[in-house]
Symmetry: C2
Subunit: 240 residues, 2 copies
DNA sequence: GTCTATATGAGGATAGAC
DNA sequence: GTCTATCCTCATATAGAC
């Protein structure tokens, strides 16, 4: 509410600055405070949920007092909305970038495996944002979800294209429904943020298992033999 | 709080009665009100989260006034705890039952496919309980999670045994980590409650795709050819 | 068994000092 | 930029009528 709120306006200006400048000067002023608040909010949101997220808890985590938050964000809802959007946005940007950098002759299966790696990597990296998103998507008031839904639509389309390519290549096993398979795969990956414990399984193990499951689960003809030793680590490399 | 609370005691007695009697007499008195409240609580909890669940909303959904809830449950927390536990409990019971009824000579892969079917079926059936569980597991105060954690441990062990059998049969592809694969599979299934829309995909489509993905994703040697036409529907039948 | 009325407390948001 | 003090709203839980 109160759209003309002075602190909100100021905050928005700062944010635009951060986002636009690629690597101009240093992360700039002590306006890294904004980042601290955002990270803190993701942390609390993932653990307490939308309704349970107290400005006081966020402030504790960010090492300042609650009213200071209003200097950077117009309201509690505005802050939470940005957490949800940021998580979705960063994952999509990262996966997009990785796919763009793949050689043109990369096969559809390998592209999917690369996407699996990119998704998993960033999701586990940004686990507070990821779990905040996962747990609260269905619990947010609709009007706070517009940006997030746009992100997710775009991200869904990206995956849909990957599966489409696989299908057109005749490599998608015919008893699979493409859309359903895609949602099941993404679900398996998303869920990983809920259970992954770095002290129990290495990231490599999770990645290798996920990629193998996807590769063999999806594709009909096995171009699998010659990849056998390769699936262990990143698929971003050779494709010849 | 207030453990000796009269209404709580009364409520517990009624519940025990409901649970014990298999099909004795009718669902008994208007104490089906308790079920209505429980269902309503699952509905609200899944959409608003632990902290956002208001007794008033539950009351609206159950078609009574908020204070009436205290006749059946000792407190808000007690009610919520029971929702979380009920979801986990019913799924485990159902899957256990289905597995127990399988012929003794059922192969490990087929047993896993049967478990996939049972899990998916009950999860989509009880979607309010399922999504309540999924979204709020990480957001509940620890002291409300004891029963639920016990359920989940038992359920995890059940799946672990399924994968163990597959492994000992030499059918688990060697590049897979059993525990990780299991968590990824369950994750894919759990997530389905988040996106499944009966008006878009039939239950059959989801089930068939999930089973196929799991079967081909997990197993090394293909005993797949002779099952091809069978994976479409339940796997509970033939195994000869 | 279910209601109306109310005591009590927690948390978002603002004003204004520094 | 960040703090202290304060207002106001709203939800749990209880008391007690019907």
């Amino acid at each position: 509410m109160t759209p003309g709120h002075p602190s909100a306006r100021r905050a928005r200006r700062q944010k635009a600055g951060d986002g636009a400048a690629p690597a101009d000067d240093a992360p700039s002023k002590s306006s890294r405070t904004r980042e601290r608040i955002l990270d803190a909010a993701a942390h609390v949101l993932s653990r307490k949920g939308y309704a349970g997220t107290r400005l006081g808890d966020i402030a504790d985590q960010a090492q300042l007092q609650a009213p200071a938050i209003y200097y950077y964000f117009g309201s509690r809802d505005e802050l939470i909305e940005e957490v949800m959007w940021t998580g979705a946005q960063r994952v999509r940007e990262h996966v997009t970038k990785v796919l763009d950098e793949l050689p043109d002759d990369t096969t559809p299966v390998d592209r999917i495996c690369a996407a699996v790696e990119a998704h998993l990597h960033l999701e586990l990296e940004l686990s507070d944002f990821a779990t905040a998103l996962i747990r609260n998507s269905g619990q947010m008031p609709e009007h706070l979800r517009t940006r997030q839904l746009a992100e997710e639509a775009a991200y869904g389309k990206l995956w849909r294209n990957l599966f489409q390519d696989l299908h057109e290549d005749g490599r998608l096993r015919p008893d699979l429904d493409a859309r359903t398979a895609q949602l099941l795969v993404i679900g398996a990956l998303n869920w990983a943020a809920e259970w992954w414990n770095p002290r129990r399984d290495t990231y490599e193990t999770v990645l290798r298992t996920a990629q193998s499951l996807v590769r063999h689960g999806l594709s009909s003809r096995s171009q699998l033999a010659d990849e056998a030793g390769d699936t262990a680590r990143g698929t971003t490399r050779r494709t010849s």
